[in-house]
C-alpha cells in the first residue's frame, strides 16, 4: 500500500514534468498547426546549454536559468524567422520533415561537441532532501519541479486567455487570413511564440536534467512523451495536457514496477488505449 502510494505520487510528479514538456508542443500545434519533431532534441540542447553555463560561470542550475531562458528565446526566434516560417501554414508534411532533419542535425552536433557519454546536472543541496508524510517519502526536488511545471502551465493558460498577445495568437490559430486582414503580423507573432516555446523548453530542460542523466540521443523519447501528453489531453487544452502528462507518468512508474524495463512501454500502451477509447483526447471536444 505504501509502495503504491509512493509510486502514485512519484508518477504524478514525473507526469507534471511531462506536461511541461508537452506545453511547448501544445502551443506550437495550437497556434502554428505544426509539430516540431526536434522538440525533444531541443530539451536535450537546453540541458547541455545549462551544463555548459553552470561549469563556465560556476553557478547553480537555477541561477543558470537566467542565461538559459534568454538564449533559448533567441534561438527559437531565429529558427522561426529564418527556417520555420518558410514552411509553416502549408501542409502538415513540410514542417514535419524540416524539423525531422533538424532533429538529426541537433543530435549529431551534440554528439560531436559533447561525445555520446551521458551527463547530469548537479542539484547541489537539494538532491538528497526529502520528507515523510504518513510514511510516504517525498523528494523535495521532484516536488519543486512538479510545482514549477504546474505554475508555468497556469501562467501560459493566463497568457493565452487574458492578454492581447494571447488574443492575437488565438485569432491566427482560428483563421490566419482574417487575422492578417485585421492587422496581425502572423510571421512576427510566430517568432515570439516560438521564442516563448523555446524558453519553456529551457525551463523543462533544467528540471529534467536535474533528475535524469541525459545524452545526445535522449531527445526522441522526450518528444514521444510530450506528444502523448498533448494528444491524450485533447489538442489545444492546456489543463488537458497536464492530465495527459500525469496519466503517462503514472503508467510509466507502475509499469516499471511490473517489469523494470517496461516502464515506457506501459506509458505508450496507456496512450494507445486512451486513443481507442477517446480519439479526440480525454478533454477534447468531439469534432464533426
Amino acid at each position: 500500500m505504501q509502495i503504491a502510494a509512493e509510486t502514485l505520487l512519484n508518477g504524478l510528479m514525473l507526469g507534471a514534468l511531462y506536461a511541461l514538456f508537452g506545453l511547448g508542443l501544445s502551443l506550437s500545434v495550437g497556434v502554428m498547426r505544426m509539430i516540431n519533431i526536434a522538440h525533444g532534441d531541443l530539451i536535450v540542447v537546453g540541458a547541455y546549454l545549462t551544463s555548459v553555463v553552470m561549469s563556465e560561470a560556476g553557478i547553480g542550475a537555477l541561477t543558470a536559468l537566467l542565461v538559459v531562458i534568454p538564449v533559448m528565446f533567441a534561438l527559437g526566434w531565429i529558427l522561426q524567422i529564418i527556417l520555420f516560417n518558410r514552411v509553416v501554414g502549408k501542409d502538415a508534411l513540410a514542417p514535419l520533415l524540416l524539423t525531422f532533419g533538424l532533429s538529426i542535425v541537433l543530435q549529431n552536433v551534440l554528439q560531436e561537441m559533447f561525445t555520446a557519454d551521458t551527463r547530469s546536472l548537479q542539484a547541489g543541496d537539494l538532491a538528497g532532501l526529502g520528507f515523510n508524510v504518513l510514511g510516504v517519502s517525498i523528494g523535495v526536488l521532484p516536488l519543486l519541479s512538479a510545482l514549477a511545471s504546474i505554475a508555468l502551465l497556469g501562467a501560459t493558460h493566463w497568457l493565452v486567455g487574458h492578454t492581447h498577445f494571447g488574443r492575437q495568437a488565438r485569432a491566427v490559430s482560428d483563421d490566419p487570413g482574417t487575422a492578417r486582414l485585421v492587422g496581425v503580423n502572423d510571421r512576427r507573432l510566430f517568432g515570439i511564440v516560438t521564442g516563448l516555446i523555446f524558453s519553456m523548453i529551457g525551463v523543462a530542460a533544467v528540471l529534467y536534467a536535474l533528475r535524469t542523466p541525459f545524452s545526445p540521443t535522449a531527445g526522441p523519447e522526450r518528444l514521444l512523451y510530450s506528444f502523448e501528453a498533448v494528444v491524450l489531453g485533447g489538442l489545444g487544452n492546456i489543463w488537458g495536457t497536464l492530465f495527459g502528462g500525469l496519466v503517462i507518468g503514472i503508467a510509466q512508474l507502475f509499469g516499471a514496477k511490473i517489469a523494470s524495463g517496461l516502464g515506457p512501454f506501459f506509458g505508450h500502451l496507456a496512450f494507445l488505449v486512451a486513443l481507442l477509447a477517446r480519439p479526440q483526447g480525454l478533454f477534447g471536444k468531439a469534432s464533426s
Binding site: 502538415a92 538529426i104 543530435q107 523519447e221 506528444f227 494507445l272 480519439p279
Partner: protein, 344 residues
Amino acid sequence: MTAVTVSSANFRTALVRMSVSAGLLIVAALVVSIPWLSTFAVQRLLVEVFTLFAVALAWNLLAGYGGLVAIGLHVFVGVGAYSLFALSNELHLNPFLLLPAAAVFAAVFAAVSAWPMFRLSGAYFAVGTWVLAEMMRILTLNSPSLGAGGGMPLEAMSDIDRWTRNAGVYWAALLVGVGSLVVSRQVLRGSLGLALMSVRDSEPAALASGVPVARAKIALWVLCAVISGLAGAVSYMNTLQVTPDASFSLNWTAAAIFIAVLGGIGTLEGPIVGTIVYFLLRETFAGYGAWYFIGVGLLAILTMVTAPGGAVSLIPEKWRLDPFRIRRRMAGSDLDRSASFPQT
C-alpha cells in the same frame, strides 16, 4: 500530315522501343548474374541498396499517394525480420521458404495496428506510428524468448554454404526491390491508385465522389507494410543476426525519408534517384561520422525549403519522362479547355 511521315514516325518509335527493351534485357541479365561476377562485399552492399530502396519506396507511396506520413515505418522492418527469424529457428525451416510467412505477419500486424493508428491523422499519425515502433522495440528488448537485447541468429542458415547463401540473399533482395517497384506501378495504374491520387488531391472531393477513402488508405498501409517487412526480413538474412535496436531503429525510416525527400515525394522515379544519391553520399562521406549525418540532415532541410519536390522536380516539366506511365493527363489537354465541356 502525309501517310509517309506517319509511318516513318511509327517506325522510329518502334525502333526506340526495341532498343530500350534490348538495353533493359542486357541490364537485367547483368544484374541477375552479379553473384558470378562480383565479390561478396559488392553483393552485401547491393542487398542494402535494394532493401533500403524498397523501404523508401513504401514510405514514399504512403506519404506521396496516401497522405500518410509514417515516422514509425521501421516497425514493419522489425516485425518482418523478427517473424522470419523466429519462425525459421522454431520450425527449423529454410528461411527463404519463410519469406511469404514474414510478409503475412507484416500484413496482419499492419491490419491490426491500423485500428488505433487510423484514429490519428496528419502529423499526429506520423508521430503515433513512431510510438507504435517504440513499443515493439521495448517489447522485443524485454522478451527472453526472442533473445532480448542481444537478438537472435538465423540458425538454419548455417547449413547452407557461403556462396549459395550470399547469392540467395542477393536474389531475394533483387526480387524485393524490383518486385516492390513493379507492384507499386501496377497498383498506381489501377483503381486503387486512382482512388489514392484523388484522396491526395482533395479528400473531401474524393469522399463526395464516392471513393472508399478509408479502405484505400488501409489497403495502401498493408501493402507498404508487406514491402517494408520483406525488406527487413531479407536485410537481416544478410547480416544473419537480428537485434531490437537495429531492426526497430529510426535509422531505417530516417534514411527512407531522406531518400524520398531528396528524390521527390509522390513519384516512382524519386526513390530510385534518391537511393542512388544516398548511397553515393554514404560510401563517400560515411567516414566522417557525426559530420556526415549533420550534412545529410542539412541537405534534407535545404531540399524542403528550396525544392520541396525533390531532385525530380528540378527537371523542367517538358523534359520530364514518365518511365512508369503512372501520370494521368486530361485527354486533349492541349486543346481549348472549354471545348471539352459537354455542350447541350
